[in-house]
């Protein structure tokens, strides 16, 4: 299979279960995604839509309350869910790595930079100290840290925020993983540093042929960085496909609303567009489509029956009744009846 995806998620569900087992939060619900080597997949959604839980699920580093209840995660031809914890440890940091939400706090204040960049190399490859350190210097150079020879001997508090961020990036790619997951890596940075960092990530991706999963709520970054896009709402992927096609013709009303809420310089309107209403409580989802209560296009069927994931064209799916052939007419009819 020459064109097999690097990572393929099939009907993956992760739920948080309360201690008494009475409340179940469906943080990730029936998610199917695929990403090929060298591709960038953007995952967007509001806070609490399950993006981060999805990332933690892929790495299998979920908090104890979370359970992966069903699905498959095929990574380089192996199902990660079948692996033992020890086997996963060998995958993490080596074949797939992750950059955390707050890279500023991701470095241990007690160790030198060199020590921390060299750590995964030593853990995974058992490289001797000297070799690991010279690799660490190389890595720091590759993330454009000036004078890495002196920097490896310094401590995190001697670095600026942008530098620490790049160091965390260097740790991420230290064992040359096939897949890098970046969970909102730029939220704590100011805009100029953000742009620098994004360029760096893209260069690293190209240089190493990495697959990159980029989790964000910033659609501007998605437009700039990503090839593929998955939009999450209430734990489900409501729409996915190539970024350009989703941006030009969003199929799901939620995607439309998200794109509509980006402020534009050309807007003359006084107020910002927001999506009305609140995201639903993930422990008591409505029976139909989770977005129905906030959806301007919703009709009767949306409130009783959850829409299936339908293919709308090549490599593109949406979870919306309106995308199901033949339902459009029904909806129009319903609407005219109401009117």
């Amino acid at each position: 299979m020459p064109n097999a995806p690097l990572l393929e998620l099939e009907n993956l569900s992760t739920h948080y279960v309360s201690a008494q087992g009475t409340r179940v939060v469906r943080a990730v619900d029936d998610v199917s995604l695929r990403i090929h080597a060298g591709e960038t997949l953007g995952i967007v959604g509001e806070s609490g839509s399950g993006k981060s839980t999805l990332a933690l699920t892929i790495m299998r580093v979920l908090p104890p309350a979370a359970r992966i209840v069903s699905g498959k995660m095929m990574f380089e031809g192996e199902d990660l869910l079948q692996k033992s914890d020890e086997e996963m440890q060998k995958v993490r940091g080596r074949r797939m790595a992750m950059i955390l939400q707050d890279p500023m706090a991701s470095l241990n204040p007690l160790f030198t930079i060199g020590n921390q960049v060299a750590e995964p190399i030593r853990v995974h490859e058992g490289a001797p100290r000297a070799a690991a350190w010279s690799r660490a210097r190389e890595l720091l150079r590759s993330v454009r840290i000036p004078s890495p020879e002196t920097r490896v001997k310094q401590y995190p508090h001697e670095m600026s925020g942008g530098m620490r961020q790049r160091i965390v990036g260097a740790i991420g790619i230290s064992c040359e993983p096939r897949l890098l997951i970046a969970d909102e890596p730029t939220t704590s940075l100011d805009l100029t540093i953000q742009a620098q960092y994004l360029n760096l990530l893209r260069d690293l991706q190209r240089a190493h042929g990495l697959a990159l999963i980029f989790i964000t709520h910033n659609l501007g970054i998605v437009a700039k960085m990503c090839d593929q896009l998955a939009v999450m709402y209430a734990g489900r992927v409501v729409e996915q496909g190539p970024v350009s096609r989703i941006f030009s013709a969003p199929a799901h009303p939620y995607t439309k609303a998200l794109l509509g809420s980006i402020p534009r310089m050309t807007d003359n309107r006084e107020h910002l567009t927001a999506i009305e209403g609140q995201p639903p409580d993930l422990s008591s989802l409505p029976p139909g489509c989770a977005f129905a209560p906030r959806c301007p296009m919703a009709f009767a069927r949306c409130r009783v029956e959850a829409p299936p994931e339908v293919a709308i064209d090549e490599g593109r799916t949406a979870r919306c009744w309106l995308a199901v052939p033949g339902v459009e007419a029904e909806a129009t009819a319903m609407r005219s009846n109401v009117a």
């Binding site: 440890q89 993490r92 080596r94 955390l100 706090a105 241990n108 204040p109 750590e119 853990v123």
Partner: protein, 299 residues
């Protein structure tokens, strides 16, 4: 048990300018440090410093008072006891016993307590439950009574005392360290280590342990006083360091019958020695606690 209560209460935050001053050495408890270093020095060079054999006296020279009292002589500077042994020499060798027992017991308790605290805090779940319930049970036992109970089982010897004190006091470390680990393990650098594929043991050893060493050292200094007092108490009760070894607690015990007849030097000197050592350790520990408090340092 006022000392233990003191350990468990959080340090009150000194005013902001105190932090600036704290960066330099001002406020450094010089006198307690000199006393502790002095005792340590005496303990190490006891053989050279002591004018007489601490365990063998001459009965002819029983109950000599210190040299400045009538009947005292320069031969026995601080007098002699009921067996004619030189009090000064016994004090000097007693320092060795106190230091050795104090430091090794603190280390022993510290290693056991810190290890269990880290495991308990980091692994969580049933391991945490098990260790913490054990700690709770342990802390519910009165420490001294428990130590006496253990001493009665294993019998008196200096190394037994070390083990008894370690077994009695590891819980203090376990509690404090576990608390620190609970907050440490939520820090981003621990998460990064997890996603970088480090095993639990690697994380505990490389990322958690170095971050709790400060607290363990502070706690250890504060525990030193407690441990020395307990050792003296056990020796006083006759279940600690066995005679004729010169331990300060033993000297107190030996001298107590003579106190009423005016032979004050047999109890006052070892009493003062214990007090000075414990007070110095406590003051130094308090200073270290403020100095090394990560809340105040905020890396």
């Amino acid at each position: 048990m006022s000392t233990s209560a003191e350990i468990l209460t959080l340090p009150s935050r000194p005013p902001r300018f105190a932090f600036i001053r704290g960066l330099r050495l001002s406020g450094f408890p010089l006198i307690p440090t000199v006393i502790l270093v002095g005792i340590a020095f005496v303990a190490v060079f006891a053989n050279q410093l002591a004018p007489h054999n601490p365990e063998i006296g001459s009965l002819a020279a029983r109950f000599k008072p210190p040299f400045w009292e009538t009947g005292g002589s320069m031969k026995y500077l601080l007098g002699t006891d009921q067996l004619g042994r030189d009090v000064l020499s016994r004090l000097i060798f007693g320092a060795r016993v106190s230091m050795v027992v104090g430091i090794t017991a603190v280390l022993f308790a510290g290693v056991v307590g810190t290890t269990l605290g880290i495991i308990s805090g980091y692994l969580g779940g049933w391991v945490d439950q098990l260790i913490m319930r054990l700690t709770d049970t342990w802390l519910a036992l009165p420490a001294l009574t428990f130590a006496i109970f253990l001493a009665a089982i294993v019998g008196p010897s200096m190394w037994n005392i070390v083990i008894i004190l370690g077994i009695t006091y590891w819980t203090r470390y376990a509690r404090v360290i576990r608390g620190e680990v609970l907050s440490l393990k939520e820090r981003e650098f621990v998460r990064l280590a997890i996603v970088a594929g480090c095993s639990k043991w690697t994380i505990m050893r490389r990322h958690i342990l170095p971050n709790v060493i400060n607290s363990a050292v502070v706690l250890g200094t504060l525990m030193l006083g407690v441990v020395i007092i307990t050792e003296a108490t056990l020796s006083f009760l006759g279940i600690g360091v066995p005679p004729p070894q010169p331990a300060w607690g033993l000297m107190l015990s030996d001298g107590k019958q003579s106190l009423m007849v005016g032979r004050w030097w047999l109890t006052i000197f070892p009493g003062c020695a214990i007090m000075l050592m414990v007070l110095s350790a406590n003051i130094l520990g308090d200073w270290l606690r403020v100095k090394l408090d990560p809340q105040l340092r905020q890396l």
